[in-house]
């Protein structure tokens, strides 16, 4: 340790780097339409029928979004188009993309069910700055069951995803499984559905029962411990498989994020895991009706009529008392459980998750699903970090992007 001034300053700096400091707005989730051509059993969005009217941006909303994008102050911008099925309104996507000022380095993600790929969508996909995100719930049967689809419909989806993968590769085409925590698919079958397509990143995301899904699965208010076990088993399967076949390196995105947050202060781009976590700063969600939400989950809660967490709208902005009220509590600081928790520097605060599960944020943190899940995953992470098992070390190094096959000893300096 350097004595004196530098040591003192660098310590202060290290403490601050563990906290999130919001920058300029540089991440937008946009919902140009709520209409969709599918009706998945778990659809969290309370989607609208494909032919319905009144569920797309009005001209006024569109123009206001375009203004917002034009006024981007950050040097980079990420825009995610959600729905509904956003490719039903490629014209709106094009208008938004066209509004990005020339000095801004922008990337776009189109979240689509890939059931149909209209020619306008294909043209958008062809842009270098556009990537595609879709849902792939596992093996064919499983995927079809969750979507309430017949074989032909599933086949159409598979043809689309496989064609796009062949055309663009897995850097551009990614997928997420949406998993029912009560009956997740066999880990290896799920991994195979991805690995077989050359997709190496899998984001395990249990269905958060709210919105439309909440009404259908009323028994699922808390994710039971089976999910934690499933997640852990899944990570261990990945480790085993990576060790056996060095040609492909699989990872689970959320676990990799936790690992990075452990070692790298300032890894704050995941908007649901940071501390403090002020809303309406670097990130905003704009719904089909122009309302502004702090997160996508918050939008769904409002859609489902559970609680209105909108913090403003695209015309008047979101510098509102509603936002300030949320931000006052969007932190781990001062919480007795978090303050006593060894994982606090790596953990974060997601009040929307608490509200969606318990209708309040006023319960002891350690009794929340969020806390239980993170305690479990951090415990697992540290167990793996300190494990001498070369297979484990190998995967950790790959997930952290290192060259060696073993974490540098004394890595937690």
């Amino acid at each position: 340790m350097v004595e004196g001034e530098l040591g003192r300053l660098s310590h202060k700096f290290a403490v601050q780097r563990r906290r999130f400091h919001p920058g300029e707005l540089d991440y937008l989730i946009l919902v140009p339409t709520l209409r969709c051509n599918l009706a998945c059993s778990y659809c969290q969005v309370s989607r609208a029928a494909e032919g319905a009217s009144g569920y797309d941006w009005s001209d006024g909303t569109r123009d206001a979004v375009i203004d917002l994008v034009r006024q981007t102050r950050s040097g980079h911008l990420k825009i995610e188009f959600q729905g509904g099925e956003p490719t039903l309104r490629c014209d709106l996507i094009e208008a938004v993309i066209g509004a990005v000022p020339p000095h801004v380095e922008a990337s776009f993600v189109i979240c689509t069910n890939l059931q149909h790929v209209p020619p306008e969508a294909a043209a958008l996909f062809d842009r270098d700055d556009v990537s595609i995100s879709t849902s792939l719930d596992g093996p064919r049967l499983h995927h079809a069951r969750q979507r309430g689809q017949d074989d032909a419909a599933s086949e159409a989806f598979e043809q689309n995803i496989d064609r796009l993968l062949a055309q663009y590769g897995s850097r551009k085409v990614s997928a997420l499984p949406t998993l029912d925590p009560r009956s997740p698919p066999d880990p290896d079958e799920l991994i195979d559905a991805y690995a077989r397509r050359g997709m190496t990143a899998i984001y395990l995301r249990p269905i958060n029962y709210q919105g439309f899904a909440r009404r259908q699965h009323a028994d699922c208010r808390t994710t039971d411990t089976r999910w934690l076990e499933y997640h852990e088993t899944f990570i261990r399967r990945l480790i085993y498989r990576n060790w056996k076949d060095r040609n492909i390196c699989l990872e689970e995105n959320y676990f990799s994020l936790l690992l990075r947050r452990i070692f790298r202060p300032g890894e704050d781009r995941h908007v649901d895991l940071r501390n403090p976590n002020p809303f309406g700063t670097d990130f905003i969600v704009i719904d089909h009706d122009g309302l502004a939400y702090p997160t996508d989950e918050a939008r769904m809660l409002a859609r489902a009529g559970i609680i209105d967490l909108s913090i403003g709208n695209i015309r008047q902005g979101w510098n509102t008392p509603a936002r300030d009220a949320l931000n006052a509590v969007s932190t781990c600081d001062g919480d007795p459980d978090c303050e006593a928790c060894t994982y606090k520097p790596f953990c974060g605060r997601d009040i929307v998750d608490d509200i969606s599960r318990y209708g309040t944020i006023d319960i002891p943190r350690r009794e929340t699903e969020f806390c239980r899940r993170h305690l479990h995953l951090f415990d697992l992470a540290f167990e793996l970090i300190h494990s001498p098992d070369p297979a484990i070390q190998y995967s950790l190094c790959r997930w952290l992007g290192l060259g060696g096959d073993r974490l540098p000893a004394g890595g937690l300096s």
Binding site: M1, L9, G403
Partner: protein, 357 residues
């Protein structure tokens, strides 16, 4: 190798800076091409006629410093190059074992000319500033950076400094927003004073460096740390990495660089040179440790085929165009566009030790 200093003839009463253009333009800082001559090319500007010993097409867009007394034209900022470095002084207060540009006692103040040159640079480029030790003339240096950046906020500067002279007062000055466009490249060779001081040839250098880092951290200055790899730094590199991730975590980049066989290092090459193909372990571990903790490590000046495959993503094609060379045996190599190659002055018998990828 691209020649940076050319023979030139001019009747101007004093050295001057101008930018060479093909056609006559109204801008007085520009000179335009007149004719090909036996020696090279003839140009005309506000300083009269001058001749430069090079074909005109290679020089168009270059900013040159013409010195009529020395009969020389220095290509200060070459239009087509990403590697332009202005030498502001040849004095230095350290004597580094691997110094590529051993210091001289005297100082010739060219700041005004270099400022003019910077103002004539292409849009948006990064201009390197080096020495000797630029911060020996801090007041002049800061004034130059500030006035250039005020007029040309599109430009960036990268200043090489040994970090021996920054003061608390400087920290106040360096907080000015224009310094967002300035990166300070500062060498550090070890995490302990004894080893660092021995390498830079100055007692107390490490301690003074730490004081400078504190001032620069206060100023929010942008820093690139630089460590030259040699037999004496490699074994301590991982300890240095631990030190950096803990106490210098605010830096933008850590550049770990291959040794140049020039200057002081030339005489002690056999003693200092490190063969990474034989042992990459210590270096790899240090790079991984920095990366693990979110410091960006970069490996400079090392041919890709000397780096184990798993670590190649750290390597950058770094050697400046004008001093870069490849072996004839590199011809079939697929990695050549991403490879740094060798320094022009690398020992010839070693240049052929390549393994095309």
């Amino acid at each position: 190798m691209i020649a940076l200093a050319l023979r030139a003839a001019s009747d101007a009463p004093a050295p001057f800076v101008t930018r060479l253009s093909l056609q006559a333009e109204s801008e007085p800082a520009l000179s335009h091409f007149l004719a090909c001559t036996q020696a090279g090319s003839l140009w005309s500007g506000t300083q009269g006629l001058f001749e430069v010993a090079s074909a005109a097409e290679d020089l168009i867009g270059d900013v040159v410093l013409v010195d009529p007394f020395e009969g020389r034209a220095d290509r200060l900022i070459r239009s087509a190059s990403r590697h332009n470095t202005l030498l502001v002084t040849e004095q230095c207060d350290q004597l580094c074992a691997m110094c590529s540009q051993p210091p001289k006692k005297t100082h010739v103040d060219r700041f005004d000319l270099l400022e003019q040159a910077s103002l004539l640079a292409d849009q948006g480029i990064t201009i390197g500033i080096s020495g000797g030790e630029p911060t020996l003339h801090r007041a002049r240096l800061f004034s130059m950076l500030e006035s250039v950046l005020e007029a040309r906020p599109d430009l960036n500067f990268h200043v090489l400094s040994n970090g021996q002279h920054f003061t608390a007062e400087d920290a106040l000055r360096l907080r000015s927003p224009c310094y967002r466009n300035v990166v300070w490249g500062i060498p550090i060779y070890a995490a302990d004073a004894a080893s660092h001081d021995a390498i830079v040839g100055k007692a107390g250098a490490f301690e003074r460096l730490m004081a400078s880092f504190a001032h620069l951290l206060r100023a929010g200055a942008r820093i690139e740390l630089r460590t030259v790899l040699s037999s004496s730094t490699a074994e301590r590199l991982d300890t240095l990495a631990s030190f950096i991730v803990r106490d210098l975590a605010h830096i933008e980049q850590w550049s770990v660089m291959g040794l140049e066989n020039i200057g002081f290092a030339r005489n002690r090459w056999n003693e200092l040179h490190l063969d990474l193909r034989r042992d990459f372990h210590a270096v790899g571990k240090a790079l991984d440790r920095a990366n693990l903790h979110g410091i960006r490590p970069r490996l400079f000046n090392i041919p890709l085929c000397h780096v184990p495959a798993a670590y190649r993503s750290y390597a950058v094609a770094s050697i400046s165009d004008w001093k870069q060379r490849f072996s004839d045996k590199c011809a079939p190599c697929a990695a050549r566009p991403e490879c740094s190659g060798f320094f022009e002055w690398h020992p010839p018998e070693l240049v052929d030790e390549v393994f095309p990828l």
